[in-house]
């Protein structure tokens, strides 16, 4: 059934990597074939190995629970470890999943809000929209090796962000200088967050876990003032 060496793209995607509400990235399973998952995972990680190295990750089983599909957790755990990931537990799933997961040494994490890109975007919401919160304003350059995170709001950098630096926010990211490092907006899964910068030369940009590495950033927007947002699950980079 499984062809280990086959092109990963020949199969429909069996998972998505998302940021979960508990702050850990989630591996949301969309299928259960262990070999295909392993192949696709390797392919995915290969695109940004540093980004994922040593990253703890939760296995999200919500999509599989309706059919109670069997999951080979020990194969999955070893595939994730091979890729440098640290599987920490599961969320969602059925009793059968839970039992199998515990046998494989995974814990059950409290069920988190199921934010999903499959859900209709417009939820009914009578409450007035929360005003944007500025989480952090940084007035000096963010240097290589530094990491700055603005929890619960926007991150504003009034200077440059060097290659090898990493800036993250739960909300939007504004860089009033050159962005050479890595910028991750909406890290808790806010897919409406955006990234703004005066000069895009980033190593990596991400919104709500959807990312693009430098290699995949089109030359036509490089070095320009841009804003970056998510549309149909893909990052759109537009000149301002």
């Amino acid at each position: 059934m499984s062809a280990i060496n086959s092109e990963p793209a020949a199969y429909p995607h069996l998972f998505e990597i998302k940021n979960g509400a508990i702050g850990l990235p989630m591996l949301r399973l969309l299928g259960n074939n262990p070999a295909t998952i392993a192949n696709q995972l390797r392919e995915k990680i290969r695109q940004a190995p540093d980004f994922f190295r040593g990253a703890p990750m939760v296995i999200d089983l919500h999509e599989l629970s309706a059919l109670d599909e069997e999951v080979d957790f020990s194969a999955l755990v070893s595939a994730m470890r091979d890729c440098g990931l640290v599987p920490v537990g599961i969320c969602g799933g059925t009793d059968r999943h839970l039992h199998a997961a515990q046998t494989a040494g995974l814990s059950l994490l409290a069920d988190v809000k199921h934010e999903s890109s499959h859900q209709p975007v417009q939820a009914v919401d009578d409450k007035p929209k929360q005003p944007a919160v500025i989480g952090k304003v940084i007035e000096h350059p963010v240097r290589s090796g530094q990491r700055i995170y603005a929890p619960g709001g926007d991150l504003v950098v009034l200077s440059q962000v060097s290659a090898g630096a990493e800036i993250m926010a739960d909300g939007n990211i504004h860089v009033y200088g050159t962005l050479r490092g890595r910028a991750l907006a909406g890290v808790q899964g806010n897919l409406d967050s955006r990234i703004f910068c005066l000069d895009l030369q980033a190593e990596l940009i991400a919104i709500g876990g959807h990312y693009k590495v430098s290699e995949n950033i089109e030359d036509s927007v490089r070095g320009l003032p841009v804003h970056i947002y998510l549309i149909d699950n893909s990052l759109k980079i537009e000149k301002i």
Binding site: G145, Q146, Q160
Partner: protein, 269 residues
């Protein structure tokens, strides 16, 4: 009030020790009581460049361990009586330096000296972070190449977060860029980053540009800080650096290719 200056870089072999020797001598020649400390434990080097290697009795680690007093360990320069060298130990490993020990020595030096220049080892390990921890000013020595610029940027990040000033919430360390081994010819050939490129990446106050110069090797072979070679381009560039550091407005030199003489104009491209 004494000021502690760290000469740092991240990347090795970019000219920190050359700079520490030149700048400390320059400050002393201007009449300031100056001490220069070699933090490169295990790879003693500064004393060679300063030409005092044959007078080393005690070293930095001896002082930290209480095996010698500061006055016993400090070596007075023969050319300028305002300058003193505290050499590194060649026999210990870098773990011999502790933050308390370094702090104690710097504190004691601060009572007697106007400037304390710390020659940092390469890397971002213990020796380098200890050399910068107590600093008031940092001279970030950078060569015009990508890896050196990247390491300097990294060092600047550490300066901004892991220094005493940062930890105590004081005014941050004053950071200066010193671009060394600069060769306008090679910049023109595209073999080196230009001053503008480096400034664009680091956006840092420029203290000076030291040209690539044979005078540096000659000076270090002779055990004389290159700043004493007043006729040399590197010596002059370091003199400018010291004057700028002390607040004088001195225009930058050695940035553009030298105008060719008659011979060059006739036969050059």
């Amino acid at each position: 009030m004494s000021r502690i200056i760290v000469v740092t870089s991240g990347k090795g072999g970019v000219g920190k020790t050359t700079t520490s020797a030149a700048v400390s001598m320059g400050l002393a020649l201007k009449g300031h009581r100056t001490a220069v400390i070699d933090f490169d434990v295990g790879l003693r080097n500064l004393d060679l460049i300063m030409g005092c290697e044959r007078r080393v009795v005690y070293d930095f680690v001896n002082v930290i361990n209480g095996e010698a007093s500061l006055n016993q360990a400090l070596i007075k320069d023969k050319r300028c009586d305002k300058l003193f060298v505290l050499p590194a130990s060649q026999t210990r490993d870098k773990d011999a330096l502790s933050i308390e020990g370094v702090g104690k020595v710097l504190n004691e030096l601060s009572k007697e000296f106007d400037y304390i220049v710390c020659d940092s080892p390469a890397g971002i390990e213990r020796g380098a972070t200890l050399a910068m921890y107590f600093a008031d000013d940092a001279i970030v020595v950078t060569n015009p190449e990508v890896s050196s610029v990247r390491d300097s940027d990294r060092m600047l990040g550490i300066l901004a977060s892991k220094s005493r000033r940062a930890e105590q919430g004081d005014e941050p360390i004053k950071e200066y860029l010193l671009l060394t081994r600069y060769s306008p010819q090679r910049v023109k050939l595209g073999e080196m980053l230009s001053l503008e490129d480096v400034q664009e990446i680091l956006s840092l106050h420029l203290l000076g540009v030291i040209p690539e110069s044979k005078a540096v090797l000659n000076a270090s072979n002779a055990g004389t800080p290159v700043i004493l070679d007043e006729k040399s381009d590197a010596g002059q560039a370091y003199s400018d650096v010291v004057r700028r550091y002390l607040g004088e407005g001195v225009p930058h030199r050695f940035i553009d290719e030298e105008k060719k003489g008659l011979f060059g104009r006739l036969f050059g491209g």
